[in-house]
Amino acid sequence: MLKLDNVTKVYRVGAFGGKTLTAVGDVSFDVRPGEVVSLIGESGSGKSTIGKMILGLTPVTGGSITLDGAPVRPGKEYYRHVQGVFQDPFSSYNPVFKADRVFQMIRQAYYPEVRETDWAERVHATIRDVRLDPDQVLGRYPHQLSGGQLQRLLIARALLLDLKLLVADEITSMLDASTRIDVLNLLAELKERGLGVLYVTHDLSLGTYLAERTVVLRHGKVVEMGLTDKVFGNPLHPYTRQLLAAVPRLHAPWEDAEPVTDCLYHRGGASGGLSEAEEGHFVACARLDGCPE
């Protein structure tokens, strides 16, 4: 459905844009209907830039992004199928207006022909779909609702459209542990109904909970990707291993990451292209084809 081919993004930085910074370099993967793909990376890995390019908020420098074969053309038709939800629910709403205004805006833009009563019915049904009680959330201002409620309303807003792909960029990082899991379970239910979800996060445990496939990014390049079980069950790249070792766990004290060896990855951060280590598991690590380490 969504396909990224050798996508590259170069930003101009410096006082007069004299320098360039490659935020995303040569990234290719796809998202199929009914599938959650998690995009994992630390700050500066380019994960949000990829989300923005898919949403058409920033143009690609090289490569192509296509949805069902058609290139990304930001506009009403494209946003009917692709929507994004972002990290901070409190800055996604206009505090001056009631939160349910986001539903009205969808109607004005996409469904002006739908009658008021039919629309209200549709909104109510969708709100119940995201496990909220319409009486509790409609007619309220953003500050009267909790972060989890606001986040779910944004998902409901996206669902009112003819949605194929949802880009969820760190949508749970501002929520409490107890509400976070509700939002994740909701995404899983939507996935089972055929929605494709690109779940962007820095939190490995949240990524593994939902995703069929995982893409690990570092400095804008894919270091490891494939089926989640394989990537996290048998991490091959030293960076993935290091990330996994740094995740705080319950029931097990922190282990030290395996000692840093002098490999290509550690010297320059640059590693070769992706090669298939096992079925459905790709790694960009020179170790696989005879690392000089």
Binding site: A188, L204, D229
Partner: protein, 313 residues
């Protein structure tokens, strides 16, 4: 005992009335102990951390006492607290990026800060502390904008502990950091205690698995009250309070998959603290609630160092 908090009550003054953010909390922190403080938003953990160092304008100290090394902390008296701040109690704030002066080089800022506290700067000591958290000495000649988030956070930690406070409060210091930086910062924090630079520490976070990594004791709060307090290993492996259990069960871990084991959140939301319900405050969301929960459960020590406020515990 280095810190002893007895029936502490701190209310917020609002137009609608008093918000009872901290409503009768008692606990102790021993010498060399790291206490992890966890709970959902609005449970009173930040209010507790703030009230031990500096109350903001809306907070009122309505009851209870705080004793540090046998001496009472005048937490309700902003002026008298000044003598204690940084010398005896210190804080590492959540947003290090806004804690450093952007217009000064870091070395100059530290010197100015120390002078304002009437202390002569000791360059050798400062360098030693930078080594302890793994920062190069050159950071002193840099502006905050030239440091990464993790470096800034560690720099703030060095500044906060430069006067060897007895108690250090770390309020959500890792929530804005990446996993690997988070590990380095948490490790540096535990190092302060191991090296005896600070006597005891309160580590506030909403991330239970991170607290488990560095705390000796974990205290779970709910709606301004203590729910459960026990040694870290015990509270994670054998939680007694239903709230603690639900909280632990809602944590996704690496390897847990939706398809295999579906985690559940905690239904409902914490009660309003303007008029908190009588009796057990967790009652409305609790799967075990029964008649007796209409009375307030006392905090009972069910095992050595393991206290729970629940009738069913």
């Amino acid at each position: 005992m280095s810190l002893r908090v007895n029936d502490l009550k701190v209310y917020y003054k609002t137009l609608k009335g008093e918000v009872k953010a901290l409503d009768g909390v008692s606990f102790e922190v021993g010498d060399g102990e790291i206490l992890g403080l966890a709970g959902e938003s609005g449970c009173g953990k930040t209010t507790l951390a703030k009230s031990l160092i500096r109350m903001d304008g809306r907070m009122r100290h309505t009851g209870g006492t705080v004793e540090l090394d046998g001496e009472e902390l005048p937490i309700g008296d902003d002026r008298r607290m000044n003598a204690f701040r940084f010398h005896r109690v210190s804080l590492v704030p959540q947003y290090s990026m806004s804690a450093l002066n952007p217009t000064r080089k870091i070395g100059k800022m530290v010197t100015e800060l120390l002078r304002s506290r009437g202390v002569t700067p000791d360059a050798g000591k400062l360098r030693g502390r930078l080594d302890a958290v793994g920062l190069p000495h050159e950071v002193l000649d840099r502006y905050p904008i030239e440091l990464s988030g993790g470096m800034k956070q560690r720099m703030v930690m060095v500044v906060s502990t430069l006067l060897d406070p007895s108690l250090l409060i770390a309020d959500e210091i890792t929530s804005a950091l990446d996993v690997s930086t988070q590990k380095a910062v948490a490790g540096a924090l535990a190092g302060f205690r191991d090296d005896g630079l600070v006597k005891s520490m309160i580590f506030v976070t909403h991330d239970l698995s991170l607290t488990y990594q560095i705390a000796d004791t974990i205290m779970i709060m709910y709606a301004g009250r203590l729910a459960e307090k026990a040694p870290a290993k015990e509270i994670i492996e054998a939680p007694r309070h239903p709230y603690t259990r639900l909280l632990i069960n809602s944590l996704p871990e690496v390897g847990v998959r939706y398809a295999e084991r579906k985690l559940a959140g905690i239904a409902g939301s914490p009660p309003s603290l303007l008029n908190p319900p009588k009796g057990c405050r967790f009652r409305d969301r609790c799967p075990l609630a029964f008649g007796q929960c209409e009375q307030e459960p006392p905090v009972v020590e069910v095992a050595p160092n393991h206290s729970v406020a629940c009738w069913k515990a």
